[in-house]
Symmetry: C2
Subunit: 555 residues, 2 copies
């Protein structure tokens, strides 16, 4: 039975599920990603666990909901002790390496408390959410009045650029993520008005080809041991700007109109309205700005796809396509003006649905090649899938891993049993939470979705929102106020609340251990409610009968 | 302002709240505990977080619900990384020591993974749920066909007994917890028929006086540094047996009748019925057995109270009463046949309500001396109270500590804001779960109670149970089937579910940090939705304008 030896786990950042031709984009051809879809399974209902890089990724890496791992916003540290795919895979003899972005923030306080040194072998893995590091590059080197957002961000890449002659204290910004005007002035990619300028960098030196090369270098350097490589691209995440030839590839004829309605604009919902009114919502409500961003966004995706071509050709040539599982996904989408929103921090499918394509080279997977599935799939399903690929038994870890292995399904078996998908967002740190005067406990929201309905619950006490996914797949009509939907809302609340009560913290004892104990019973001498020796099992009672007390104490 | 320097945190095991004279027992005089109540505050609605030693204690020690820390049953390890009162108090310069029982099981797998050695300073504290050890004695040295329940249990105490001439391979069993017949045969305390026999040990050598002496030795050995001493008694927990003179103190005239009804016996609820049908339920349904057990149980409590007299007299003599906060509580109660149940694993107040008495030596507490409070208090409130006593700010740790400090209330301030108490029980490992054919996820139940109502939710899918605590304080009439109570049940479910959705895993970032970020805003250069430099704050925009690109790359 042929089995994948290795796993190439490719993640893009902020890649909308519907901006690939295999998912139906009419004007953006992505033939290289499509060829993996043609040889694998395309999941059409794959959703992430939080619409923001950090928490979404921590869920993917741990196989656990945000409500379980607690890293609920960017730069909230993943606490020491949370096991990640790296921990699980290494237990099974498979290395687990990072090339690119994770958005991991280390739990320095937790490490200090346990005496874990960041530069020790174990400590370094805790710092990097369980990965061994080929190259960590979160693709972020912004600088503000308080300094760099990420002091360690893009350091190697900046060195690379300087080595290539891009002179600057921050070539990541000045070349890779900015244009230039005729007078040599940098047109910062941070300003959306510059998004349709070509990035002032040779295409081959930009971030996506750079990471492809680093990924190939990693694979080349591997010997006989099986590996999982998390090749984690930075793009098409902002700053929205792309070098030529991609900067000139797409124009207004290629842009899909925004999916939005005037009824949405007039929503009575304070939280939805509040997100619309954020600067990014207002910016994307401007057609001129949206067009500039789409010019870059589509170009960035096209560049990503071309790089997939480079990578997959190389895998074919070297034989790795025969022994490597390939996963292509994203950490969340991008509203791009849909629903009067920008960015991703809400729960429409533009944000929470992601592309997920899995190619399994094994013969057993021949039956499913080129198929698609509408099963409810979550990003937390990848970690258990990888455990199974590495020869483990993800089901035996279901007290830790909250997702379900997709491996049976890839090989013609049933889809995971799941009656809803859950997504969460914690906006405690946002100005909106301040404007609404909400405590952090209240400035959180949950999505619960099945094939027919999507409900959004707000801890702020505001009414839920509800979408009929069958009748209204664009999610334009909020039925949260509709008295006729009371039963549906109650049913979705039942799902959400049953999920919330799940025993996700009990990670130190398996379900199998509990079940075994039921019948194995107490065999270590504890007797509860036993009146006399006739009621105890003979071999336990034997311990307590026929004993003599012959003490020599003073009387 | 006089403040307590030290904390003497006394816990009994399986001590019912209503088996003390200060809580109203008509025949069991406990003048020594009562004198602390007369000088402190007696809490009349103090409930524990799980009706079983291990999970209840892990909640007390962490200040967190079982649903948060995950140690849901005896011997389910508390996972590495869960901070305990020991961790918090040492951060504040107060030592935190154990004399007696914790029922802690170490997370050996988690420790191995992080390279923590059990005999290192940090590792030893992780093993012992954050305590430094004066003496660990869980008071349990049963032995069955598979060996000892607790290989390390009662080792020092057994050595002590052997040193006193109690010859045996297990004097804990043969003397401290058994009687003897005229032929020198050991009458094991494991068999309830022997509970009214006197334990075959000199009273001074039995476990309660032994631990009192060990506690006094600990306090004597302390220098100038402040300390918290968890003096954690084993009794009146089973084996139910007590030496003379206590074995002869109480008889049928002193026993309260069981609180139970024939309607309860005929309940249609499969889980409640299942617990009634456990061997311990059946044993306590026999009046002869219940009387034997009560003989020992009341004697054990009387002995505990007499030992409190020894301890408090010594504290008075040495001046410690002037600078030491004293807390008296228990980890849960004991049904003793009430509601046709034995042991503690259900949610009536006989089990989940505990005595809680706090004496604060400071002048500010003079206003509350000798008072009682009906505030909803939980065992998780002790850890934050101790943090405040040690000079910390428990409110600043409310992302970790889920309880509320009682210190303001002890000093005349308001009671903690709490609209319900929560208790949980995981019976996944029991034969009942097997009989009902339940997955571990389903064999769990929750109690939610306020001043008026107590509801029990079953994950098994069975209907809830409901008690009207005002009209039916004995909890004899289950209204869970009463259609007239649908609104009440819905309201209690709202409380339970809001609690279940709380963000208890996000322990690495404080609420204050989130709130501060709202207005401090992004000052590290990230610009989201900014169209041009005029929209960015001037000092951030300044980083991205006026830059020149003067690269020397090949063209």
């Amino acid at each position: 039975m042929a089995k994948p030896r290795n796993i190439l786990f490719i993640m893009f950042d902020q890649l909308r599920w519907d901006y690939l031709s295999c998912y139906g984009h009419p004007h953006l051809e992505t033939p290289n990603i499509d060829r993996i879809a043609a040889r694998g399974v395309r999941f059409d209902n794959a959703r992430i666990q939080s619409p923001l890089c950090g928490p979404s990724r921590m869920s993917t890496y741990t196989g656990r909901y945000v409500h379980s791992h607690g890293a609920s916003w960017n730069n909230v540290p993943l606490k020491v002790g949370e096991r990640t795919m790296g921990d699980h895979l290494r237990d099974l003899g498979m290395g687990c390496w990072l090339v690119g972005k994770t958005h991991m923030a280390a739990d320095a306080e937790g490490m200090r408390r346990l005496g874990l040194e960041p530069d020790s072998k174990i400590g370094a893995r805790v710092v990097e959410c369980g990965f061994d590091i080929w190259e960590r590059d979160d693709g972020m080197r912004p600088e503000g009045p308080d300094g760099f957002y990420d002091p360690g961000g893009a350091l190697k890449y900046n060195d690379y650029l300087r080595g290539k002659g891009y002179e600057s204290d921050n070539p990541w910004h000045d070349y890779a993520n900015s244009g230039i005007d005729d007078d040599g002035n940098v047109l910062s990619g941070w300003f959306l008005q510059n998004s349709d300028s070509p990035a002032n960098i040779r295409e081959e030196d930009s971030e996506t080809p750079y990471l492809t090369r680093r990924g190939i270098e990693f694979i080349k350097a591997q010997g006989d041991e099986p590996w999982c490589c998390h090749l984690s691209y930075i793009k098409p995440h902002w700053p929205y700007i792309v070098p030529e030839p991609y900067a000139s590839m797409y124009g207004p004829a290629d842009f899909l109109p925004p999916v939005r309605s005037s009824a949405e604009r007039e929503t009575d919902h304070p939280v939805f309205k509040g997100f619309q009114n954020a600067p990014v919502g207002k910016a994307f409500a401007r057609d001129d700005i949206r067009d500039k961003v789409l010019t870059a966004y589509m170009g960035l995706i096209k560049q990503c796809d071309d790089q997939m071509g480079v990578l997959f050709d190389w895998l074919e040539e070297t034989g790795r396509m025969e022994d490597t599982m390939i996963v292509i996904t994203s950490d969340h989408g991008d509203f791009l003006g849909d629903h009067w929103l920008g960015e991703k921090t809400f729960f429409h499918d533009a944000s929470v649905k992601v592309p997920m394509i899995i190619y399994d080279p094994s013969e057993e997977a021949d039956a499913t090649r080129g198929t698609s599935s509408d099963a409810l799939v979550e990003c937390i399903d990848l970690a258990p899938t990888f455990v199974d690929v590495a020869g483990g038994d993800a089901a035996a870890l279901d007290h830790i891993l909250e997702g379900h292995s997709l491996l049976p399904m890839l090989r013609g078996g049933p889809a995971p049993a799941r009656d809803c998908s859950i997504c969460e967002y914690d906006y405690s740190a946002t100005p909106l939470a301040a404007r609404l005067d909400l405590h952090p406990d209240q400035s959180r929201m949950f999505m619960v979705a099945d094939h027919n309905w999507k409900m959004i619950h707000f801890e702020s006490g505001h009414r839920p929102m509800l979408f009929d996914l069958q009748a209204d797949p664009d999610e334009l009509t909020d039925l949260g106020n509709d008295a006729a939907q009371a039963d549906t809302i109650a049913r979705m609340y039942d799902k959400l609340n049953a999920w919330a009560r799940r025993p996700s913290a009990r990670t130190t004892m398996s379900n199998a251990s509990f079940i075994k104990y039921r019948t194995a019973g107490p065999r270590t001498g504890v007797l509860i409610g036993v009146v006399d020796a006739t009621e105890a099992s003979n071999d336990t009672a034997a311990k307590y009968i026929g004993r003599k007390a012959t003490d020599k104490r003073e009387r």
